[in-house]
């Protein structure tokens, strides 16, 4: 956890109401996919939580941090008016993030099980399935990149309402063995919702998106991690604003989350 100032390098629209914000600063705490930053927006009281979408660290130079956000209210609309050179106050390194080790373990187990059972086991090399809905694609992009670097074979399913909302499809492609885009109206990729494209025995699942999507994905898999959203007062465990009930008791989604293991989740 750190507080740091970043400089806006780029703030460009990439889809309907969606901006890609590229920042320069100390992102040394942003190494884990699924963690988030809390952005102070001029004129607003509470900070706005946004997932880390990508990060490049550079020796002896500022790191580059990439965020993707959708304008849904006053705070994100004010962000969309930031121009390059503007300074932003961020709390970085917030939340637990995804555990990419779990996909590796799963891939190993699946390989072993495949040797015994031969059939019905997932493809021996398929370690992970990433399922994203809307802006949920943002943290999954960084995860896909990291899983790829660790040699985990990964499939990705991204769901959107319509073509104008599609993000990160092209960027994600090089890091996964298969990429399925689903749109509700069929205007891009396949017509349907993400769960229509989840295979019968999915490998380890990583999901991020709206609540109904998370629940539907949960019902279609046996093991995985799910990233949740809650309104936050602080983002670092001080206010008890973001509490949710889990099988292990009350948890703060900003500190013990936003990622919960499948077995912890209570709907």
């Amino acid at each position: 956890m750190k507080q740091a100032y970043f400089t806006v390098l780029e703030n460009t629209p990439v889809a309907r109401g969606v901006y890609r914000l590229v920042l320069a600063g100390d992102a040394s705490d942003c190494t884990r996919a699924g963690t988030f930053v809390n952005v102070k927006v001029e004129g607003f009281y509470l900070r706005r939580p946004l997932s880390v979408c990508d990060v490049y660290s550079r020796e002896e130079e500022n790191d580059t941090l990439v965020l993707m956000y959708k304008t849904v209210g006053g705070g994100t609309e004010a962000m969309s008016r930031l121009s390059s050179g503007a300074r932003l106050d961020l709390l970085t390194g917030l939340g637990n993030g995804f555990e990419s080790d779990n996909a590796l373990k799963y891939a190993d187990n699946a390989r072993n099980r495949a040797l015994i059972a031969k059939k019905d086991a997932p493809d021996a090399q398929d370690g992970a399935l990433l399922v994203g809905g809307g802006m949920g694609a943002a943290p999954l992009y960084m995860l896909a990149k990291q899983l790829y670097a660790r040699g985990v074979k990964t499939s990705v399913i991204l769901g959107f309402n319509t073509l104008a909302d599609v993000i990160l499809q092209r960027e994600m492609q090089p890091f996964c063995s298969s990429l399925t885009v689903a749109t509700a109206d069929g205007s891009s990729g396949n017509k349907g919702i993400v769960t229509d494209f989840i295979p019968k025995n999915p490998p380890y699942v990583y999901a991020c998106g709206p609540l109904p999507m998370l629940k539907a994905v949960y019902d279609r898999c046996t093991d995985g991690e799910f990233s949740f959203e809650e309104r936050m007062g602080c983002g670092f465990g001080a206010c008890m604003g973001c509490t949710c009930k889990t099988a292990d008791g009350a948890k703060q989604l900003c500190k013990d989350g936003p990622v919960l293991k499948r077995e912890e989740i209570i709907w």
Partner: protein, 304 residues
Amino acid sequence: MVDLGVTLCGLQLKNPVIPASGTYGFGYGHAAFYSPEILGSIALKGTTEQPRFGNQTPRVAECPAGMLNSVGLQNPGVDAVINEELPRLKSVFSGKVIANVCGFSVEEYVRVARRFDEAEQVGIIELNLSCPNVECGGMSMGATPSGVARVTGQVKKTVKKPVIVKLTPNTLDITALALAAQDAGADGVAMINTVLGMRIDIKKQRPVLANARGGLSGRAIFPIAVRAVYDVYEKVNIPIVGMGGISCTEDAVEMMLAGATAVQVGAENLRDPFACKKIIDGLPPLLASLGVQSITSLIGAAHS
């Protein structure tokens, strides 16, 4: 050298700045940003006898110059606070802390206060008679002078440590509450807790908070708090811990001029984790520029 030390109910504080209950967890969360050792003291999250999950989410809402919360006293219960939270806090803060006590009956206040009375790290017991986010207990017991007197009197009979009563602004006359606390034996009053408020989502046409109503805190309530402390200072002779909307060193000084012996900083800790540190660091230069040698000379100095 400007002297920042104050004495609050017999407790020596190296400076008058204390993070307010509910905005600093159990003290060790902010340690990632700076060492809590610099603080005058720490007010712990409101604690009840049994663990409480609190209210449904959303529990926080954005407001102009402030925020609403309806956390509803989420806490792990007094046993866990004493056995788990206090030892953890000890590793980052060696001073005495303020235990914020809440209950749903007079008896519960007494039982929780008695537990903290035995805890070595606790220097002061703060009775939260002002939480607006629970159905019974909290503000429902603290909004009338008779309620304040009843709880304060019973707790004072049982504990040895100093007792400060935290008052609500959601009442007809806060000075009457303060007087009731003083008459019942309170060693001090803390004020103000949050101001009742609500936000409505115009797209959903429903209140933003799951609990509909919440407590407003942050800069927006600062003038309300200054007025309340000023008026209470004229009526009581026990020390006042002033809070409500303090966000910078100047605010802390203003609150002391109104009559506060020490100040608590709440919501500002959430948007700026360094808030208390900045306020403390700002005191020596500000006091020097005001020609003040000892911070205690500020207390109530605005009164003629």
